[in-house]
């Protein structure tokens, strides 16, 4: 047994000397206003503090947008849409997006440091995953801006108007890119609300928008908590609502916009199955399991939180997994060798703890990687629950943390049945050396994204979205672009305050499911 093989004792090489990324590149202001109509303005709500989840230290003061501020922002976006953005050619919109993409690349290190500081994710992830993907998203959709005829909606499709976008705290800047890049490429203007615990990079992005000399009002950023978001999605003059976040909030939004004629895309929770067959490339599968659930502290809606492993290789896989987890480094998110950063907020930490305790109480075998937990900040060591039953809450509810539930199966049919037995359907993973088996199983999985012999890989050209309670609509690729367009000649969508709701509201819950 190699359990004790890789242990870092006192003075050992594996206790790598600290290698912190410098924060000197970051020039933060003491307080940030709202970004409306091309300028930072004071919010009328009570400002709040953004803290570093790794140290609980104050980073900056962030403004709260009241419904009135939201109204101002939407009005600015509407003006920008009517007067400038909708009048620009696709090629010209593309130029702005290319400019933004290049500025993101130029300021990549600064953005990565800010993201790790504010969100708690390891710098190696913000540096190597988040920020490069942000640039990739803008580059990709910049290329689409003058090719909308090929978006799948026929010739000369039209923008929707003003898009209200609400994003989560797990990939703050990347989710912003997923929302803003296709919206602008399609010719919409946007009002975006970042999550209250992670507003910082959205505000740095506002500086980039200024640097790129984007026409005023095309991108507006309003910060604040849930009420700000509610005011934004309920605003009568928005044409499109795009939300990424929890299923509970997604449901509220669906109710709020039902019958208003607003187009909606929702990207919600998940409880993905990561299926490991006995013919899997075992060492790579172990890496994939680790990447599936411990990437970004498991704060990933498409995380592979349910490991379905074929019973014949269960012991071997779990044993190897534990050995591997013992090498993960938890700690300072800004250290370049950190694998596991901080949990984003105390509230989230409490939820992870609560569900883990439930898992233990329900009889699952708990194993926690040996690692030292820093004194301050919010931390949760990588944890595995073995012998989890399908009815256990940790096998059914989204934990959104570094907690893996291990279940077994005997045959491909059983694997498929168990994988699909969830209210969610965002992603899934399949590990097998046999290509035909991968294709046959993937065909029967009810999940929007299926990875084969890999996990948590993202590309702007690939559509992303869910089945069932994981939401509807797709982001990324041509499909993600079409979500911000309507066919030529569609009645101008003017929402409730300006026009009557449609007589027969579309059944939005089923509309986006097919793809």
């Amino acid at each position: 047994m190699a359990k004790d093989l890789i242990t870092a004792g006192a003075g050992s090489f594996l206790d790598y000397a600290p290698a912190p990324e410098s924060t000197s590149i970051l020039h933060l202001q003491k307080s940030y206003g709202l970004f409306i109509d091309g300028a930072f303005v004071t919010g009328h709500g009570r400002p709040f503090a953004s803290i570093s989840p790794a140290t609980e230290k104050h980073i900056a003061e962030i403004a709260t947008a009241t419904p009135k501020d939201v109204d101002t922002a939407v009005a600015a976006a509407r003006r920008a849409y009517d007067k400038t953005w909708s009048k620009l050619s696709g090629a010209d919109r593309g130029k702005y997006l290319f400019r933004i993409a290049r500025l993101v690349q130029e300021r990549a290190r600064e953005l990565a440091v800010a993201e790790s500081l504010d969100n708690g994710k390891p710098i190696k992830e913000s540096r190597d995953v988040d920020v490069p993907l942000v640039a990739a998203w803008f580059f990709y959709y910049a290329g689409w801006a003058d090719k909308l005829d090929h978006a799948g909606l026929g010739a000369n499709p039209q923008a929707l108007g003003v898009a209200a976008q609400v994003i989560p705290w797990n990939f703050p800047l990347l989710m912003l890119a997923w929302k803003i890049a296709p919206a602008l490429a399609a010719g919409n203007t946007v009002v975006l609300k970042p999550a209250e615990t992670t507003s910082l990079t959205a505000l740095l992005f506002a500086e980039i928008v200024q640097q790129a000399e984007l026409p005023n009002g095309v991108v507006n950023i309003v910060t604040g908590a849930g009420e700000t978001g509610a005011a934004l999605v309920r605003h009568p003059d928005v044409n499109k609502v795009a939300f990424t976040g929890s299923t509970a909030v997604g449901r509220e939004i669906a109710k709020a916009v039902a019958g208003t004629g607003k187009k909606v895309t929702l990207e919600l929770g998940g409880k993905a199955a990561n299926i490991v067959f006995d013919d899997a490339p075992i060492d790579q599968a172990v890496e994939g399991i680790v990447n599936g659930i411990f990437f970004n502290q498991g704060h990933v809606c498409c995380a592979g939180s349910r490991l379905l492993v074929q019973e014949s290789v269960h012991d071997d896989v779990v044993d190897r997994l534990k050995t591997r987890l013992a090498t993960l480094r938890l700690g300072d998110p800004l250290d370049k060798n950190t694998d596991i950063g901080a949990i984003n907020s105390r509230e989230q930490l409490d939820r992870i703890r609560e569900l883990s305790d439930i898992g233990e109480a329900e009889g699952a075998e708990r194993w926690t990687a040996p690692c030292v937990i820093p004194e301050n900040g919010f931390w949760f060591a990588p944890t595995i629950f073995d012998n989890v039953s399908t009815s256990s809450r940790i096998a059914r509810e989204e934990i959104f943390g570094p907690v893996l539930s291990v279940l077994t199966f005997r045959t491909p049919a059983e694997a498929i049945a168990k994988a699909n037995n969830t209210p969610y359907g965002l992603s899934a993973g399949i590990w097998s050396d046999k290509g035909s088996k991968i294709l046959a199983v993937a065909d029967k999985l009810r999940a929007g994204v299926i990875w084969a012999n890999t996990f948590n890989r993202f590309d702007p050209a690939s559509p992303f979205g869910g089945y069932k309670e994981s939401g509807y609509g797709r982001e990324g690729g041509r499909q993600g672009l079409a979500a911000y367009l309507q066919p030529a000649g569609s009645a101008k969508v003017r929402t409730s305050a300006y026009s009557q709701p449609r007589k027969t509201p579309r059944n939005v819950l089923s509309a986006g499911d097919a793809s």
Partner: protein
């Protein structure tokens, strides 16, 4: 790792038993008995045959190339600074097989190499010695003479002599010649033999033949006093081409009794790569999980900078554990790496970068 069922009792003791005697399926070779190498017998059972060996190797879990390379790249992003870097640089020196393998090698060149091995940095005598010098078999007496009393086990602060043998680098010679080549180097005082496998035999599926050759070379490493020179088995991964092949060949070399598995001769591109070395370390780790035995790994060829070498140290430490970072379990086969490490070492002690004229040519 499953071990296949013992083959049916068709194996006879004679290696020469007819290949057509058993009702074998067309794809599985007949049950030709193989030399009963100790590890293989323990792992596969007493009736060791070409068939049982082949079933075993083909039953190994596959390797996903994308995933393997991704993991290697991830390990390559570790940031090794300050005290960790100082430790790593000295450790790299202690793990080097300082190598010269040229047709133009002369006794003078070998003496110069040995001097460099013993005193890598004349301007800083705290720099440790390398583990071994690696030369062609006929240069072994010169290396031994040049080392004098400094010849011995690297664990004792001495320097070993490694000789490449078995018609290195191609391995295209009869077994008789290979064995003579090996025995000659050992009797001249080589402590370690770096042999090459018969890649032709391996690629054409004659695993038994490759196995038997390794077993025979291992026997040729035996000295008069009954001790053995350490055997490093070079897989020449650049010619095996696929990761699945590398895993099978690694496993085969270990079963046949190799003390080390080594990536390359340095004469074929690509030579050592981080993914290939990671994969071989994973095999060594799995062998240790199953048997508790430790087998060494030697990446050779193409590792020229400290930065690269540190990635290998990280990969070793995070895959098999730190205790592998010692000369009997890990080596770098390199010629130009040492000077780059010395330059980095000087930078770390003096705070200034120096130039190539401040390290000696061997």
């Amino acid at each position: 790792m499953q071990s296949p069922a013992p083959s049916p009792g068709t194996a006879s003791s004679g290696a020469a038993s007819s290949g057509t005697a058993s009702p074998a399926t067309p794809t599985i070779p007949a049950a030709v008995a193989l030399a009963p190498a100790e590890r293989a017998v323990r792992m596969l059972g007493g009736d060791l045959t070409e068939r049982s060996l082949r079933l075993h190797l083909e039953g190994l879990s596959g390797v996903d190339a994308v995933g393997l390379e991704q993991r290697a790249a991830g390990l390559g992003t570790r940031s090794i600074k300050t005290t960790s870097k100082a430790w790593a640089l000295d450790k790299i020196i202690e793990l080097i097989d300082l190598t010269t393998l040229e047709g133009a090698d002369t006794p003078g060149k070998v003496r110069s190499l040995v001097a460099k091995a013993l005193t890598p940095d004349p301007s800083d005598l705290t720099a440790p010695r390398v583990a071994a010098v690696c030369v062609y078999g006929d240069m072994v007496p010169d290396a031994v003479a040049a080392l004098g009393t400094a010849h011995g086990d690297p664990d004792a602060g001495l320097v070993s002599v490694a000789a490449v043998a078995t018609a290195f680098p191609s391995g295209r010679a009869s077994l008789r010649v290979k064995l003579a080549d090996t025995a000659d180097a050992v009797s001249n005082g080589a402590d370690e033999i770096d042999m090459v496998i018969d890649r032709g035999a391996f690629l054409s599926g004659r695993y038994g033949e490759v196995f038997e050759q390794i077993v025979a070379v291992k026997e040729a490493c035996r000295r008069d006093d009954g001790s053995y020179a350490s055997l490093k088995v070079i897989l020449e991964t650049g010619e095996l081409n696929t990761y699945d092949n590398v895993r099978r060949a690694s496993w085969l070399a270990i079963l046949a009794g190799g003390d080390f598995i080594k990536t390359s001769t340095g004469k074929v591109a690509p030579a050592a790569t981080l993914p290939v070395t990671l994969l071989m370390l994973e095999v060594v780790r799995d062998w240790h999980r199953l048997t508790g035995e430790r087998v060494g790994v030697k990446p050779a060829g193409g590792i020229r900078t400290s930065k690269d070498a540190i990635k290998y140290l990280v990969t070793v430490a995070e895959t098999v554990g730190e205790q592998w970072l010692q000369p009997h379990l890990f080596r770098f086969g390199a010629s130009s790496l040492l000077n780059d490490v010395l330059l980095q070492r000087q930078k770390l002690t003096t705070g200034r970068y120096s130039g190539p004229d401040y390290v000696t040519l061997d």
